[in-house]
C-alpha cells in the first residue's frame, strides 16, 4: 500500500453575487501534501505499447527510435515494478514477458525485455482500442497490484499507480471510432495512459481523445531522436506517483447544477462528463494518480437557485477521495447575495485567467480548423485572438508555437498574418499543445 495521501484544497472566488444571479465560479487548487511518497515498487505497474504497424518502417529510423525509446523506459524501471511490453498492429500481442501476466523488473528481466523489443518488425495495420484492451488485461491481472478486476469503469482500490505509454505514428484505421470509444468507456479510470504521436501522420484529435479519457498527457514527438528521453521521463514520472485512483468529490446543494468542472493547470481537461454519482447531492470526478507535492488547478462553475439579498449559501464543497475511500482536504465555495455592485462585479484574477486560457485553446483549435478548410479570414481572426490571449496571459510557450503558424505584427491587439510556409510539424505541435496552460501567478 502506498502511504496515505493528504491533499490541501484552496478556493479562490468572489462569493458576492448580484440579486437574481445564480452562477458561482471558483478556481480550486489541489495539492498533494503530507507524508505522500511513492509507494513500494511492487505496487506500480507499467505497460509500454509500441505501434509496429507497417508505416513504422518509413522512414526506417522511426521503428529504430521507438525501440531505443522502449529500451530507455525499461532502463529506468525500478527493481520490483511489474511491467510488460505490447506490440500493436491491427491486433495486439505481448512482446514481453513470454509467460502470462507481468514481469518483475530486475537486471535479468530488463535485459530479456530489451532483447525482445530489438527483435520487433513492423508490419500490419492500426487498431489502438485492441492495444488498450490488452494493456488493461495485463494491468488488471492478479499480479498487477489491482485486487479487483471489476466491470467497465469500475474503480480499483488499494492499488499503486498503473500506467501505460502508447506510441503511434498513424491513424486508427483498422477499427471504427465507435469501437475505440467503446473500449475507452470500458478501460477509463482503470489505468492512466500517456500518448505520443511520432511523425505527422497521426491525428491529434484521436490521440487527445485517448489521453483525456485515460487522464494522461498527449504530445508530438516530431523528431524520433527525442523519443528516448521522453519515454524515460514519462516512466520516471509514472513511478513517482505516490497515490493512484484519486477522485475529486463535489457536493452541491439541492437544485444546483454543475455547469462545468475542468482541470485548468497544468493543462486543460474537461471533467464535467466524468461525474460518477455517489449520493443525492454528491458526485466524484476521476483525477488519476498524484505525485508528492503535485499541484493542479480546477475551474468550477455551479449554477444555484438565487436566494434573497443578504442570504448566504454553500454552493459547493470539495474533497479528495483516495484509495480505500480515504477523504482528505476540504474546500468551500460560497454564495452571498448583495446589492453592492462594487462587491458583486469583481472577477477574481484566477477565474479570469483560466477563462482566458480555455478561450485561448478554443481559438487555436478553431483557427487551425478554419485554416485547413481554407477560410483564411476566419483563421486569421481566431489565431489573432489566440495570439492576443497568449500575450495577455503571459503564456509564452503557446505564443512561441503560434508564431510558427502566423506572423505576429502586434501581439497586444492580436494583429497577425497567416504564414504561407507552415510545416505540418509546426501546425500539429501547436494543435497538440494548445491545451497546455500558463499557471496563474502565485508566489
Amino acid at each position: 500500500m502506498a502511504v496515505a495521501p493528504e491533499f490541501a484544497v484552496e478556493v479562490r472566488q468572489n462569493e458576492h453575487l448580484p440579486a437574481g444571479a445564480g452562477r458561482v465560479e471558483a478556481v480550486v487548487t489541489v495539492t498533494a501534501t503530507g507524508g505522500a511518497r511513492a509507494g513500494p515498487a511492487a505496487d506500480a505497474a507499467e505497460v509500454l505499447v509500441l505501434d509496429t504497424s507497417g508505416s513504422m518502417r518509413s522512414p526506417p529510423e522511426k521503428l529504430a527510435e521507438a525501440v531505443r525509446a522502449a529500451e530507455a523506459a525499461l532502463g529506468v524501471l525500478r527493481d520490483g515494478v511489474r511491467f510488460a511490453v505490447v506490440a500493436g498492429t491491427d491486433t495486439a500481442r505481448v512482446v514481453y514477458p513470454p509467460g502470462p501476466g507481468l514481469a518483475v523488473a530486475g537486471p535479468r528481466t530488463r535485459a530479456a525485455a530489451t532483447r525482445a523489443v530489438r527483435r520487433l518488425r513492423a508490419a500490419g495495420g492500426t487498431a489502438m482500442g485492441r492495444w488498450l484492451l490488452l494493456a488493461d488485461a495485463l494491468l488488471s491481472g492478479p499480479d498487477a497490484g489491482a485486487p479487483d478486476a471489476g466491470g467497465p469503469g469500475s474503480r480499483a482500490s488499494g492499488a499503486g499507480p498503473r500506467h501505460a505509454i502508447l506510441l503511434t505514428d498513424g491513424e486508427n484505421r483498422h477499427e471504427s471510432p465507435q469501437e475505440l470509444a467503446a473500449v475507452l468507456e470500458r478501460v477509463a479510470g482503470r489505468f492512466t495512459c500517456d500518448c505520443r504521436g511520432v511523425g505527422t501522420d497521426w491525428r491529434v484529435a484521436e490521440l487527445r481523445g485517448i489521453a483525456e479519457a485515460m487522464l494522461g498527457t498527449v504530445d508530438i514527438v516530431a523528431d524520433p531522436a527525442g523519443l528516448a528521453r521522453d519515454f524515460e521521463s514519462m516512466t520516471l514520472a509514472a513511478m513517482g506517483k505516490a497515490v493512484a485512483d484519486v477522485s475529486l468529490r463535489l457536493w452541491t446543494p439541492g437544485h444546483a447544477e454543475v455547469v462545468f468542472l475542468r482541470q485548468v493547470a497544468p493543462a486543460l481537461l474537461d471533467l464535467t462528463g466524468r461525474r460518477r454519482r455517489t449520493g443525492p447531492r454528491t458526485g466524484e470526478y476521476p483525477t488519476g494518480a498524484w505525485a508528492a507535492g503535485e499541484s493542479r488547478d480546477y475551474h468550477l462553475s455551479v449554477r444555484v437557485r438565487p436566494a434573497a439579498v443578504g442570504e448566504r449559501m454553500l454552493a459547493a464543497r470539495i474533497a479528495l477521495v483516495g484509495p480505500g475511500e480515504a477523504v482528505s482536504g476540504r474546500g468551500r465555495v460560497l454564495a452571498v447575495w448583495t446589492d453592492d455592485a462594487a462587491l458583486s462585479t469583481r472577477i477574481p484574477p484566477e477565474v479570469a485567467h483560466y477563462t482566458g486560457q480555455a478561450e485561448l485553446a478554443e481559438a487555436i483549435r478553431e483557427g487551425l480548423r478554419a485554416r485547413r478548410a481554407g477560410d483564411a479570414a476566419r483563421a486569421t481572426a481566431r489565431l489573432g485572438r489566440a495570439v492576443r490571449l497568449a500575450h495577455e496571459s503571459g503564456n509564452t510557450g503557446t505564443a512561441k508555437l503560434l508564431a510558427a503558424v502566423v506572423e505576429v505584427r502586434d501581439a497586444a491587439s492580436g494583429t497577425v498574418r497567416l504564414r504561407a510556409d507552415v510545416t505540418e510539424v509546426d501546425e500539429m505541435t501547436l494543435d497538440t499543445r494548445s491545451t497546455v496552460t500558463k499557471r496563474v501567478g502565485r508566489d
Partner: protein
C-alpha cells in the same frame, strides 16, 4: 381576572400570589429571557433540512443555518417587541429586553450593536440585560414613583450597561471595542421616562398626533443643532450615522439624556433601532405606518410591532430592525 397560570410551569395561580406555589417563580415580574433568545440553533433549516456541516451550512440546500437571533418575537401584557436581522446584514446585532412588574410598571431597553466593533451582538445583549435588571429592580422596590427617581434609575442603568459592555473589550484591540447604542423607557402609572445614548429612538403616538422623544447623538444631528446643516442635508450626509455618543470601553459616557412625560391619553410608546426609523424618520411617517386602530389600542402590541418591522423589511431591510411597542392607557396606569 381568573384562570391565570404560572408562565414557568403552567400551574394555576391567583392574581394575588407573589410566587407560584408549584415552582416558586416570582409572579410579579415577567421579562424577556436573560442572554437573549438562546444560543442553541433552531433545529431545522428553512428548507426543512435537519443536517448541517461543521460550518453550519445546510446539507440539503447549502444555506447558512439560521440563528435564533435572526428573528426574535416576545410579548407580555401591554408590551411586545420584535428584533429582526433584516435583509442585508449577516447577523442581528440589535438586542431588546423588557419586563413588567405587576401593579408597578414596565421597563424596556433596546440597544443596537455598532457594526464596526467586534462582538457587537454580545455588546447589545449584555447592555439590554444589565439595564433591564436595574430598571426592573427599581420598579419592584417601588422607588420609581417620581420623574426624578425614574431618571436617576435610568442613569444607573446606563452606567451599569456601559460598564458591562466595557468588560467585553480586549485591551489589545481597543479601536474595535464592543459598543452599542441605548434607548430605554420606564412606564409607570401616569408617566413615562425615556433615556438614550446614540441614535436609537423613542416615539410617542396618540390620537392627537405623534412626537419623537429622543434626539440622536450623531455628528450630523450636532451639526444640525449648531445650524451647520439643515435637516434634509443631514439625512444624506455621510456623517448621518456616525455616533457622537455610545456605550463601550471607549465611550466616556457617564449619563444618558432623559425625558419624562405624563401619560394623559391612550397611545403607544415605540422604541426602535435605526433599522426602523431610517424608513419612517418623521413622527408622521411612523404614524402613517401603524395599522388602523392601533392607537385606540384595538391591535395587540405584537401586531403593531410586526407591522412596523414589515414596513422596514419591505423597504429593503438594510439594517437590523428592532421595535418594542408599549401600550399607554392614559389617565393613570400603563
Amino acid at each position: 381576572m381568573g384562570g391565570e397560570t404560572c408562565p414557568e410551569c403552567s400551574a394555576p395561580v391567583s392574581p394575588k400570589d407573589r410566587f407560584c406555589e408549584a415552582c416558586g417563580r416570582n409572579l410579579r415580574v415577567r421579562r424577556t429571557p436573560v442572554g437573549g433568545p438562546g444560543s442553541q440553533w433552531p433545529p431545522l433549516c428553512a428548507c426543512g433540512g435537519a443536517e448541517f456541516d461543521e460550518d453550519g451550512a445546510c446539507e440539503a440546500c447549502g444555506r447558512a443555518r439560521p440563528s435564533a437571533r435572526d428573528r426574535v418575537e416576545f410579548a407580555l401584557p401591554g408590551v411586545a417587541g420584535i428584533s429582526d436581522r433584516g435583509r442585508r446584514r449577516r447577523r442581528n446585532e440589535d438586542s431588546m429586553a423588557f419586563g413588567r412588574v405587576r401593579g408597578r410598571g414596565t421597563a424596556v431597553v433596546v440597544c443596537d450593536g455598532v457594526a464596526s466593533s467586534e462582538r457587537a451582538e454580545q455588546a447589545s445583549q449584555v447592555a439590554v440585560d444589565t439595564a433591564a435588571d436595574v430598571l426592573l429592580t427599581g420598579l419592584q422596590s417601588g422607588t420609581l414613583q417620581s420623574a426624578r427617581d425614574a431618571e436617576r434609575a435610568t442613569a444607573e442603568a446606563v452606567v451599569a450597561a456601559n460598564a458591562a459592555v466595557a468588560r467585553l473589550a480586549r485591551p489589545e484591540a481597543a479601536e474595535v471595542a464592543p459598543s452599542c447604542t441605548f434607548v430605554s423607557a420606564v412606564v409607570t402609572d401616569g408617566s413615562a421616562t425615556v433615556g438614550w445614548v446614540g441614535d436609537s429612538r423613542a416615539y410617542l403616538v396618540a390620537e392627537a398626533g405623534a412626537a419623537r422623544l429622543t434626539s440622536d447623538d450623531t455628528w450630523a444631528a450636532q451639526l444640525v443643532a449648531q445650524g451647520v446643516l439643515t435637516e434634509e442635508e443631514a439625512l444624506t450626509d455621510r456623517r448621518a450615522h456616525v455616533l457622537s455618543r455610545w456605550l463601550g470601553a471607549d465611550s466616556g459616557v457617564t449619563e444618558p439624556q432623559t425625558v419624562t412625560f405624563m401619560v394623559e391619553t391612550p397611545g403607544l410608546l415605540v422604541l426602535c433601532s435605526d433599522g426602523l426609523w431610517n424608513y419612517v424618520p418623521e413622527p408622521e411617517d411612523l404614524l402613517a405606518a401603524l395599522p388602523p386602530e392601533a392607537i385606540a389600542r384595538r391591535v395587540a402590541p405584537l401586531e403593531v410591532a410586526r407591522a412596523l418591522v414589515q414596513v422596514a423589511l419591505d423597504a429593503g431591510g438594510h439594517d437590523n430592525i428592532t421595535v418594542v411597542v408599549v401600550q399607554l392607557r392614559g389617565g393613570g396606569g400603563s
